[in-house]
Symmetry: C2
Subunit: 156 residues, 2 copies
Amino acid sequence: MAIEIERKFLVEGDSWRSAVASKKRIRQAYLSNGGKAGVRIRIIDEERAKLTIKSKAKAGVKALSRSEFEYQVPLEDARAMLELRRGLIIDKVRHLVPAGGGRTWEIDVFAGEHEGLVLAEIELGSADEAVTLPEWIGREVTSDPRYSNAALAQGS
Amino acid sequence: MAIEIERKFLVEGDSWRSAVASKKRIRQAYLSNGGKAGVRIRIIDEERAKLTIKSKAKAGVKALSRSEFEYQVPLEDARAMLELRRGLIIDKVRHLVPAGGGRTWEIDVFAGEHEGLVLAEIELGSADEAVTLPEWIGREVTSDPRYSNAALAQGS
């Protein structure tokens, strides 16, 4: 079990692209999203797959911390599990950009239903860790439920 | 992925106990039970744990077939995941009794919320495979939604 602390921002412009260290395609969907846990299946570069259980973020001023359990699963299983999804398949390319201090920006460029949306996330050691925001970082949406993966998967 | 065909019966009396080959304690709960899939965490003899994704049985005359994906997970993860459950923790001792023809009866003796309930299940190669029913087998409840693990977990 790991505790995950992350902040999320809208991205403005394309200047971040020159700093990309690596990228991968992600297709994912939720098998469940009610109750206390979200259950997500994710296929990476159509080569490998992961099943993830995430506790729902607690309601409150800063909904930043939650528990996460993640397991590798066979690609064939994952493809079949996508058929058991609730809501949409999210299709995006995730770009990694070094953020300094050993941190990494994950910049997700969405395709399909969410074409045009670009989000940047950074995982931190604590909710109040200082972060230097590059010029391409736009409005913070960490606490905006419309930009959660779960909400995007519902097509809302 | 495996396709699971099973029939379920109420158990009458204790005469089956002399034929028990092995038994194990099972504690389990559902993380999710809506949509097209049930997500179950199961702890066996407090020694090992499994995470299982089952597609919901199709509505129809015989709701016997469904897909199942199962993964070993760390015991510590499983115990934490029980806290993310929806509904009750099911606590039961599962007894295995040889059924002939290479098949096995699984006889679940429930504790806690369902104290007094005893169910026998048998997994078959096809929905119309013949089964010899021992004298301790009572009413068939395969298609009775009240005896599904999901319904029992809801306390209904």
